[in-house]
Structure formats: structure tokens, C-alpha cells
Symmetry: C2
């Protein structure tokens, strides 16, 4: 489990020619860091008299940011594992026509599975971006820059995950699946880009 | 040393109300991940016959990306430490006029020191963005998405570091320092934004 390992071991292996971890796991980790920053803003607001009016919303925010952080931390691992599934399918024998057909079927199934991991990472990034807006709006103003960093990293991680969705889609021969997933990604990217612009602006306004 | 510790311990402490690590350390780590991805592209290109023509440039790229990764990994730690310097200055006594003047002087010096850490993070992020362009242009095309992720995370990390520069600048009473540093940051952000747009486009083109 990478998450249980040392940071330097992760970045060292990322830098190596090992096929995993790669950009997918990197984007999940960047988004987990963003989620942690939303939690930090919430934790710096909990129990403060100045923010008495928003305590219920802050508790909800913290619950949501910690839940999505956990999911993203799991996705760091899942992205490295799905590479194995694809690798096994590509190594299947292809001597007879029957073998070729079976291999093609397995590769297509593995590609769809491999698509859905960065797809879910992108979905979770959008969740983090939504939560960072709440953090910037009602959280401790002394930590507003952390809400700003959260939205910036979450949006970049969503765009990064999109690249990893795209790689798999280019090899999938199910046009309906391809068009549905790519349209989903475009929607996620458009929403997270708006949130980035909005929350970054609010952050600078509150910094004065 | 956070880098020598487990990833979950870093994200857990980031999520807590502890004042450090915060957004500055988070942006340095995101940029170190981006640098590692440039190294990955370089490592997947080294020694490949198909890329024989660019082996010298790839070796230079790898050397540069590993050097900037090491700097960014050090900056994760430095950002958490500079908070301590600021905290000590703020806690200085301010009963007499003399104490007040001494404290103000120490706070101003600490704020300048605290400004320069995220400022250097932003400078290093731009370096990573520049290197990711080379990775996307001449690196193994099978890893082009990793060059794309690198530029996206590096650009977001630069914008994140800028927020942390801004926080400190708002309390510094040396207009020349403030205007010089902010103009430097605007230049870094404008350059990294152009690189992001360019490299993301190249990545999609090469993914097909």
C-alpha cells in the first residue's frame, strides 16, 4: 500500500521507469492533498465562537471532505492495481483465431475498467472543488488561502485524470461508451474550471 | 522530516488544525510529484533506439528534473519550518515601546523570510513546467500523458504558492519589497499558464 509507505518512496518510484505509479495515481494523490486542505479549513473553524452561526455546516463540510479524502487515497492504490489487469490481458496468447478473439475481449474489458478509475478520480476532484467553495465562503478567514490551494490542486487533478481517461478511450471500440464517458469528463472539467475561477477570486478578495 | 514519513501521516496532519503543514508545503509536494513525472518520462526514453536522436537532451532533462524534484522536496520541509520562525516573532513581548519596536522589526524580517519560501516554490514550479514541455516534445510518446499531468500540477502548484506569497505580502510594510515580489510572481504565473495551455494541447494531440 503506497499510502502506508514513505513519501520519498512514492516520488522515487513515480520518477522511475516503472509503469506504476503513474499520472493517474499522481492526480489522485494531489486531489487527496486538496481534500485534506478543505478538512484543515473546517478543523480551524470548528468550535470557534466567531463562526458559531456556521458550526452545523462546518461539521457537514468536514465529514464530506474526510470521506472524499479517504476515497481519493484508495484511488491512488486502485490506479496502480488496474494497470496490472490491463497488463495481464495484453499478455494473453494470440496464436489461434479463438485466442485472438478472447484476448481482444479481455483487453476491451480491461480498458473499460482502466477508464473508470481516472473517471472516478475526476468525479471526486469535482467534489473537492465544490467543498473548497464552501470552505472559502464560510470557513475561518485566516485559512482562506488553504481553501484556495484546495480548489487549484483539485481542478488540476481533474484535468490530469481526464488525460488518463483519454488514453484508454482512444483504444476502446465501443463508440457509445467512449462518447458517454468523454462527455461526462467534459462536464466535470467545465464545472471544476468555473469553481476554480470563483474560489481563487474569493480567496484573493479575502486576503485583501 | 515529512518526506521520510508515511503519506497518510502527512495528509492526516495536513487535514488537522495544526498550523503546519499547510498550503505552502502542499503546493511544494504537488510540484515535486510533477517533477517526478517529468523524470518518469525521461527514464522511459533513456536507452530506447526509437529515441536515439534525443538521448543527450533526455539525459539533461532527467538531470534537471531530478535536481528540481530534490529542491521541491526540501521546500516541503522548509515551508513547515518557516512557520516556526514567524510564530516566535509574533510571541515576542510588547509591553514597552522598545519591545514593541523590536518585535515589529523581528516580525517584518520573519514575514520576508516566510515570503521567500513560497516564492521559491513558485520559481521551481515554473522550472518543472518548462521541463514538462521538453518531456512532451521529445520524450517517449507512450508516456506523454505523464508530461501533461506534470505541467497541470506544476501550474496549479505555482498558483497555490502565489496565494501563500500574497498572505505574507499583505502584512509587509516595505512597498518596494512587496511590489518587486508580486511582480515576480505575476511573471511566473503568466509564463506557467502559457506552458500549461501549450503542453496540455500537445499532449491531447499526441494521444490522438
Amino acid at each position: 500500500m503506497y499510502l502506508e509507505g514513505r513519501i520519498v518512496d512514492f516520488t522515487d518510484k513515480l520518477a522511475s521507469k516503472s509503469p506504476e505509479p503513474g499520472g493517474g495515481a499522481a492526480s489522485a494523490l494531489a486531489a487527496a492533498i486538496a481534500a485534506a486542505l478543505v478538512s484543515m479549513v473546517a478543523n480551524l473553524t470548528v468550535g470557534k465562537e466567531k463562526y458559531a452561526d456556521v458550526q452545523d455546516r462546518i461539521s457537514e463540510l468536514l465529514e464530506a471532505s474526510e470521506a472524499v479524502r479517504k476515497k481519493l487515497e484508495e484511488l491512488v492504490q486502485k490506479d496502480t492495481e488496474v494497470y496490472g489487469v490491463l497488463s495481464v490481458a495484453f499478455k494473453m496468447p494470440r496464436e489461434t483465431d479463438e485466442q485472438k478473439a478472447e484476448r481482444a475481449k479481455a483487453v476491451q474489458a480491461a480498458l473499460k475498467e482502466a477508464t473508470m478509475v481516472p473517471y472516478e478520480i475526476a468525479e471526486r476532484c469535482l467534489e473537492v472543488a465544490v467543498l473548497s467553495e464552501t470552505a472559502a465562503d464560510i470557513g475561518n478567514v485566516g485559512a482562506v488561502s488553504d481553501a484556495g490551494v484546495a480548489v487549484l490542486l483539485a481542478e488540476a487533478a481533474a484535468r490530469s485524470a481526464a488525460l488518463n481517461v483519454k488514453i484508454n478511450l482512444t483504444s476502446i471500440d465501443d463508440p457509445e461508451f467512449v462518447s458517454e464517458k468523454w462527455s461526462g469528463i467534459k462536464d466535470i472539467l467545465s464545472k471544476s474550471a468555473s469553481l476554480k475561477e470563483k474560489v481563487e477570486k474569493v480567496t484573493y478578495e479575502k486576503l485583501g
